[in-house]
Symmetry: C2
């Protein structure tokens, strides 16, 4: 096994609560110097890619816009592949920046991209989206999370509204967020890399590690942020490698290379 | 085969556009005189049972309240079987009449009964229902239709909102309307009749005939209202019997009885 491409989860791997994790900036620099193509993978669907890149740079990371891979980017790649030009964006208006090469429309779209509208998922809005998809527009969902916790209360997330349209129009949405396979596959298509030569590093055993392995990638779990002791005995998911933090990633890559050399 | 119980679809079998179908009233009277227990089966979820019975009587049918079997009645039987006392009714307020033996509550219910709220399915309302079911309340849906046509437009029906809650809370609703098996099974439980001794008569090949057969009943299709010539060559569903209208039901029952006698 040779690792040729590296996908990095952001929150919990590179930074935590707005502060870079020790050694993270140096590791990113080092990986670039070693010649690895990198992608910053995030499930953020409330900010455009340029803003995500800007935040990373403000924290001192080398992060050009092109290396930020978010669900909007996956959606845009999908739309290009599908040849869809007229797109209705049912999401944060700021995300329009990530769909600059498309015609953003309010009627008769070729595709609908659904994101986090929250309380703007009114009955009227849902019916408008329903008519678009039942009229033939493809439905792309930036994620399909079930709910989130707002103070004391559970609140419906995007997923239930996607499920409502799917049921109403008897269709299946394409979900492009992590841990959907399409998310990783699209990322790698843009790099021309093979799945088994790609390493994903993350802190979340299910979303990062399980999702990446499910897509055929090599997965490394860091013992920071979302990592829990129980993860070591997870009933289904076993990462290919586990390291204490991203600081150990370069030594790990060197070890993997040594192992490979010994096998030849 | 002996037929002991008869389930009658209403619209399209007994009446059409508010007018009794020829011979329908006489047939109902005759069936009662012959000693058959009858049930009037309807998927109406916008009117309480007493109102449905009143309309039938206004058209000249012998129709006591107890013989009207609608999804609210199925739901109430389910709630009794489940021992649920505190019920939240998310449906037409008039339907409260069909849940008179329960405590109708706005908070902490044992079960939620979902009906046609239409545009009252606001984001706030859906979130309130979501919290009830994710807190453990059982979800019962009066039907799960996908959409309906309002003038020129398709409009989301109850089904998509049920699907949204199901996905959000990762549960499965109990759907009590026709053609759900539970609808027929509950009807017969209240009569103490066996499935194979029960005849269902309807005009809709899928909803009435297919649904009844799927539940193990004997199904008769009438060639009135929703009946279409194509139904004679339906790819999956073949009714046990087909008659031109309800006027032929009594002769059919006599034929079935003769056949049975000849076999003994």
């Amino acid at each position: 096994m040779t690792i040729r491409v590296i996908l990095l989860d952001l929150e919990g791997v590179l930074y935590q609560q707005g502060e870079p994790i020790e050694g993270a900036r140096e590791t990113v620099r080092r990986l670039r110097a070693m010649g690895y193509p990198l992608r910053f993978l995030t499930n953020t669907t409330t900010r455009p890619r340029a803003e995500i890149a800007g935040r990373l740079r403000a924290m001192g990371f080398e992060a050009p816009l092109e290396d930020v891979f978010s669900p909007t980017f996956a959606a845009a790649l999908e739309l290009e592949t599908g040849g869809e030009r007229r797109v209705h964006l049912a999401a944060e208006p700021a995300l329009a920046a990530d769909f600059g090469t498309f015609e953003l429309v309010e009627t008769a779209p070729d595709a609908v991209v659904m994101g986090d509208l929250g309380a703007d998922f009114t009955w009227e809005r849902l019916n408008g989206l329903f008519r678009m998809v039942s009229g033939g527009a493809r439905l792309i969902a930036l994620h399909k999370n079930r709910y989130w916790r707002k103070e004391q209360n559970l609140v419906l997330d995007l997923g239930p509204f996607v499920a409502a349209l799917e049921y109403g129009a008897d269709i299946e949405a394409l979900v492009v967020g992590k841990p959907a396979r399409a998310f990783y596959q699209l990322s790698l298509r843009s790099l021309g890399a093979a799945l088994e030569e790609t390493l994903m590093i993350g802190d979340d055993i299910e979303g990062d590690v399980g999702g990446a392995q499910n897509a055929g990638l090599v997965a490394v779990q860091v013992r920071t942020d979302k990592y829990r002791d129980e993860d070591e005995h997870h009933p289904r998911i076993r990462p290919d490698y586990r390291i204490d933090s991203i600081l150990e990633l370069v030594p790990l890559l060197e070890r993997i290379d040594l192992q490979r050399a010994a096998m030849h």
